[in-house]
């Protein structure tokens, strides 16, 4: 058996196992899957451990396994901004998510948009939030397919055919089992990924002569790029990317789906305290970018820097274990792709179809529309990958962060500031989306940082954060003006009691 055949055998066996599990998941805590609460949120019954695996499997995506080390490989220390990003995200979760979870539980919300509709008594604002969520999620799904493509290419297989097969499988088990499928597969994903990462960060440094030797070699190849630390003109970009990304992560529909599926506030707090274990893993994975430099791994030409990790694993490990590692990455991308397609589909069925197209849709019809929408979303992303140039995928995913952050006032600030005015939030959203997209266009969607004259000639800032400041400015000025003109604090259709835990019956 050739090396590629051995890799492929291990890869296919593991993927087949996961497929069976995905279809079997519909029997797990069996319930009627023709209800959106069941198909899309698995009945909101996940406890601490399942939520830990699901959120870990859902939030740490192909971005973590492929793009972050790829950026370190290509750009050096600057790529490590993902480390502070992933540390800062959890204090944010700890502070705001339990409250959002509680109101969602009390009122039966499936999406953030459901909350916005009641809180602001505005179907229009809810529609804007739903559309932003869908538009920001699509390229994120495409990035997952991109990650799978990187490992398949490394095994020398017909990439397009393999991708189509992978996606038919993904679409089928998501359709039949809903959120139960990625939750169950996440257990396998996380096990495979942890084994791969732990073996990699012990075994590869031993072969390369230790971490000291790795950084020594990296320093030796350091040309124009600052590999070991960032330079003065990168400070502002580094900090603003970390901060802006941390604020944005839990606004993504797939992150909220994982949160809403939990069975209690305490589950979310415990997870905010224990999920950072995955952040440590992300840090270790980022170091694989350095190891790829030190080991002189050569990514495939078609893959570019994002092929660094597959090339490193292929170079350092024997055939069966590299096949194992490739399967870990591919399955690692399937879980978030599945949750993302469910989350985007829920936004469509609940906040667009039922709200605007068929207000009298039954729960069964709503769930069916959601299932069908999940197929459309996934195959849209697949088509994007097959026909758009590979490099564009990463750029559009970065743009998704710029857009999703503009929903923060409507979804998060609204929990704490009763004075927020509906029209001020709508105008703020429009201002943030317009300025953010404008700056992305100026950068031709190739980077997400932009230079702002008022911030000094050499400093660049994360576009999402600056656009968010514009958004926030409009929201504050508009709300104060509305208050001065006589609008009073209102909570829409919600009362204080809707935010309080309900005593167990």
């Amino acid at each position: 058996m050739s090396r590629h055949d051995q890799q492929l055998t291990v890869f296919i066996v593991l993927c087949a196992l996961v497929t069976l599990l995905g279809f079997g998941a519909s029997r797990w805590r069996r319930a009627k899957l023709d209800h959106l609460d069941e198909w899309g949120l698995a009945g909101r019954r996940f406890g601490t451990v399942i939520t830990w695996f699901l959120l870990g499997g859902d939030l740490y995506t192909a971005y973590t396994f492929i793009a972050v080390p790829g950026l370190v490989f290509a750009s050096g220390a600057y790529g490590l901004f993902a480390v502070p990003y992933t540390i800062l995200v959890y204090p944010v979760v700890f502070l705001v998510r339990p409250k959002l979870w509680q109101v969602a539980r009390n009122r039966g919300y499936v999406t953030a948009s459901d909350y916005v509709k009641d809180r602001f008594d505005s179907r229009f604002l809810a529609l804007l939030v739903a559309l932003t969520g869908i538009v920001a999620t699509m390229p994120y799904i495409a990035l997952q397919i991109f990650g799978i493509r990187m490992v398949i290419a490394q095994m020398g297989v017909n990439v397009d055919l393999a991708l189509v097969i992978a996606f038919i499988v993904l679409a089928a088990f998501t359709y039949s089992s809903g959120l139960r499928a990625p939750a169950m597969i996440a257990l396998v994903k996380d096990t495979l990924i942890w084994i791969t990462v732990i073996v990699a960060v012990i075994y590869i440094p031993i072969k390369l002569g230790g971490y000291g030797a790795i950084f020594h070699k990296v320093a030796a190849v350091e040309g124009k790029k600052p590999y070991l630390t960032i330079t003065r003109d990168q400070y502002a970009a580094y900090a603003s990317l970390a901060f802006g990304s941390a604020l944005a992560l839990f606004l993504y529909p797939h992150a909220l789906t994982g949160v809403f599926a939990a069975k209690g506030q305490a589950v979310i707090r415990r997870n905010a305290a224990f999920l950072p274990a995955y952040s440590f893993m992300l840090g270790l994975i980022a170091l694989l970018g350095y190891m790829a430099i030190a080991a002189d791994a050569k990514p495939l030409e078609a893959s570019g820097a994002n092929g660094a990790v597959p090339a490193l694993l292929d170079k350092m490990f024997n055939a069966p274990f590299s096949g194992f590692a490739f399967a870990a990455i591919a399955i690692g991308a399937l879980v978030p792709a599945s949750v993302m397609s469910i989350a985007a589909a829920n936004l469509f069925s609940r906040n667009i179809y039922r709200e605007y197209l068929r207000p009298r849709a039954t729960s069964a019809e709503e769930a069916l529309v959601s299932k069908l929408a999940s197929l459309v979303v996934k195959f849209g992303a697949l088509a994007f990958i097959l026909w758009a140039p590979a490099t564009n995928v990463i750029y559009f995913q970065l743009a998704g962060g710029v857009w999703i952050l503009q929903t923060l006032p409507a979804v998060i600030l609204a929990l704490y500031v009763p004075m927020l005015n509906r029209w001020a939030v709508i105008c703020g959203w429009a201002a943030g989306m317009a300025t953010g997209t404008y700056w992305l266009v100026l950068e031709q969607f190739k980077v997400t940082i932009h230079g702002y004259p008022w911030f000094g000639p050499h400093n660049k800032l994360y576009i999402a954060l600056v656009a968010f400041m514009v958004n926030l400015g409009v929201v504050v000025v508009g709300s104060v003006a509305a208050y001065a003109l006589g609008a009073r604090r209102r909570q829409g259709a919600l009362t204080d009691a809707d935010y309080q835990p309900v005593a167990a019956v």
Partner: protein, 74 residues
């Protein structure tokens, strides 16, 4: 425990907020840690400093979780 509004209650919330804000102070000013030396067995300062925060940040969150307990919202 301290009822809402009591000094003990307020004090606990000040501590929790400070613990949650600490990582922001430690990480959002890269000027302070963007350097190669002192190294830790060959690992540049910039890298081991942030890894130390990965561990310390998790530790702080666990402390907050324990201090806070399973009580409802403030």
């Amino acid at each position: 425990m301290g009822a809402p509004g009591s000094p003990r209650h307020t004090g606990r919330w000040v501590v929790i907020t400070l613990l949650l804000l600490a990582p922001f102070a430690g990480l959002l000013y890269p000027q302070a840690y963007a350097k190669v030396n002192p190294q830790l067995s060959g690992i540049p300062f910039f890298i081991w400093y942030q890894f130390a925060w990965l561990i310390f940040g998790t530790f702080l969150l666990v402390v907050v979780y324990l201090v806070r307990g399973e009580r409802g919202d403030p």
